[in-house]
């Protein structure tokens, strides 16, 4: 889960606990990390006993992202980093070329990089080639709540990258969309706005958690293949030879 946009830190805590989220992302770029002056807020998150995943939100260049990641490693004593390199300010669309470059640098420095990317297969493959074990494609634009806009490409990612951990990051607006991502075989989802901006974040968080469980169970149980026509579970005794009529 993300840690931004909640009405208060208390509501955020309740939501994270209700969801049972294991990873919580924290943006530090704007909090003057040089002086560790966001520390009270970060302490609140640390107290939740979740793994903190610092992110490089707001970085626009490879250099900024790398520097922010290095600062995050010192501040949070973790080599995990959610790597964002933003290419467009309005949509927050990732700059995938810079992303691959930054990932390469950070992995060589010993980081465990979780990159925020698009649904593009080739970019995902390059990130994996650079050493990323996790790839986080978007469902749709950050904060848009539009769900899985290109479901087909996400399905392809899952099929072509069977060994990578895949997390849908960004764009989920409804619990059903989280279930959908999990049904596609994704390993996790990352949610922020949909929960933080709802009227009741803890309840929405719980709804997302349930949806994730349901979607995952559905994936594991094996989804039936859709058919083109109605196929009754019981023989339609009352209408013999109905095929003949069509």
């Amino acid at each position: 889960m993300g840690s931004a946009l909640y009405p208060s830190p208390d509501v955020m805590r309740d939501a994270i606990e209700a969801a049972g989220a294991e990873l919580v992302t924290v943006a530090l770029r704007r909090q003057s990390p040089q002086q560790a002056s966001g520390s009270r807020f970060w302490e609140l998150i640390r107290e939740l006993n979740v793994r903190v995943l610092p992110n490089t939100a707001g970085c626009r260049t490879v250099k900024e992202a790398v520097a922010t990641a290095q600062m995050a490693r010192e501040l949070f004593e973790t080599n995990w980093i959610k790597l964002e390199v933003i290419g467009d300010d309005y949509t927050l669309q990732p700059d995938t070329a810079a992303l691959v470059e930054a990932a390469d640098i950070l992995i060589k420095e010993g980081f465990e990089v979780l990159p925020y990317t698009t649904e593009d297969l080739i970019t995902a493959q390059k990130l994996i080639d650079a050493g990323c074990r996790v790839v986080m494609p978007w469902g749709s634009y950050i904060g848009s709540g539009r769900g899985l806009v290109n479901k087909f490409a996400l399905q392809t990612l899952r099929a072509r990258l069977p060994d990578a951990t895949l997390i849908v990051d960004a764009g989920l607006g409804k619990p059903s969309e989280a279930a959908h991502a999990m049904e596609l075989g994704f390993d996790a989802v990352l949610v922020n706005s949909a929960i933080a901006l709802s009227a009741d974040p803890p309840t929405m968080a719980e709804a997302f958690a349930n949806a994730v469980e349901a979607g995952r169970a559905g994936y594991e149980a094996g989804l039936m293949s859709p058919r083109d026509m109605a196929s009754p579970s019981t023989p339609t005794l009352g209408t013999p030879f109905w095929h003949a009529g069509t």
Binding site: S8, D10, V11, Q31, Q35, S37, G38, R40, F41, A199
Partner: protein, 359 residues
């Protein structure tokens, strides 16, 4: 013999407490490390919006209740002061660019869910916007108008409160670093000044005694814009860069504010300035020719639930966590505290902010 109060912290709350307790016949001493002007105080940086209904978007119901109560108290307060304060009762207007209409709808939905009465918000189209703020009608074709909201010049208010205090029989110790705030005592160096009640109004200065308190950095800009004619606060809703523009006398506009989880009080960053200015420019192109006369930065004191707290103890009462709502709720907090220490009674609005917190 009259009761005695030692008030620590001369932001808007400390100053109002001093004036009110003095009026109730108390012997009041006010302490602050700041100057009389109070530039280090959060109250100096605030925008002075009295907008309890807009705040329904993010704030808890209790803040709205305190705000609605306070709203009615402000005119009386301003009459009591030694100097006039820029204060307007013209409502506030909320707009969004066509791409961001969803943000407006989200605010509308949230307010409707919690609105105490239906007439506090009005859907406005281009004609009504032209009536309210003629210069915005070309740019914005729809918005929300909150008719029962006010705004005041917070710096005027600080000055007028200061002048009032100086004319009254109140001992005001500026530039005084308080060593400790204790039950019945304000400690300065080796000296203990004793009082019937000590009121801790220090905001973030009380952090050593209130470890849950955190700073939320806010940055704002003062623009002098002769080409811009806005008469009421205008909020621009945006997925990331929501701002407000609050008019002051003489074509001065306060544009704010960022909200960053940080207790850094350093100068405004270029990024924040760009965000505030770009957003302001999209509201009114006249801001392009404005002069940037000042940037102001401070950190709002907030508890983890962003709600205010009144924490009574033996001979000591701490009032803190006003967060972004200082001017919105100060009159209510003054009444709650004064009824408690002066009359020994519990104000109906005390529930939820005076009891919920256990030290």
């Amino acid at each position: 013999m009259s009761s005695t109060a030692g008030i620590v912290g001369a932001g808007v709350l400390g100053r109002m407490m001093a004036v009110e307790l003095n009026a109730r016949g108390w012997a009041v001493s006010l302490y602050d490390r700041d100057t009389e002007k109070g530039e280090d105080s959060c109250s100096w940086t605030g925008a002075g919006m009295i907008a309890p209904y807009c705040e329904l978007e993010a704030a808890e119901q209790i803040v709205t209740e305190l705000g609605v109560y306070s709203k009615d108290k402000w005119p009386g307060w301003l009459e009591r002061l030694a100097e006039p304060v820029f204060y307007k009762s013209l409502g506030s207007l909320v707009v969004a660019h066509p791409n961001d209409r969803d943000e407006l709808l989200r605010l509308r939905r949230r307010v409707l869910e919690n609105a105490p009465r239906p007439d506090i918000m009005e859907d406005v189209g281009i004609d009504r916007i032209r009536e309210l703020e003629p210069e915005l009608a070309e740019r914005f074709r729809s918005g929300l108008y909150f008719p029962f909201e006010e705004h005041l010049d917070n710096r005027d208010l600080m000055r007028a409160l200061g002048e009032t205090i100086r004319r009254k029989d109140i001992e005001w110790n500026c530039g005084t670093e308080v060593t400790a705030v204790e039950s019945n005592a304000v400690v300065i160096g080796d000296t203990r000044h004793t009082f019937d009640w000590v009121l801790d109004c220090r905001g973030l200065g009380a952090q050593p005694d209130l470890p849950h308190l955190r700073g939320v950095r806010g940055e704002l800009l003062y623009l002098h814009a002769p080409e811009v004619n806005l008469s009421r606060p205008v909020r621009l809703m945006h997925p990331r860069y929501s701002i407000y523009i609050v008019p002051r006398a003489g074509h001065v506009y306060v544009v704010g504010a960022t909200a960053i989880e940080s207790d850094n009080r350093g100068p405004i960053t270029v990024r924040s300035a760009l965000e505030l200015l770009s957003a302001a420019y999209t509201v009114h192109t006249g801001f392009a020719e404005a002069t940037l006369i000042e940037s102001s930065v401070n950190c709002r004191p907030g508890f983890p639930d962003n709600l205010p707290r009144i924490l009574p103890d033996q001979g000591l009462i701490r009032i803190n966590g006003l967060y972004r709502h200082g001017f919105l709720i100060a009159p209510a907090l003054v009444d709650i505290v004064c009824e408690f220490i002066d009359e020994g009674s519990t104000h109906p609005l005390a529930e939820g902010i005076m009891d919920a917190w256990q030290l």
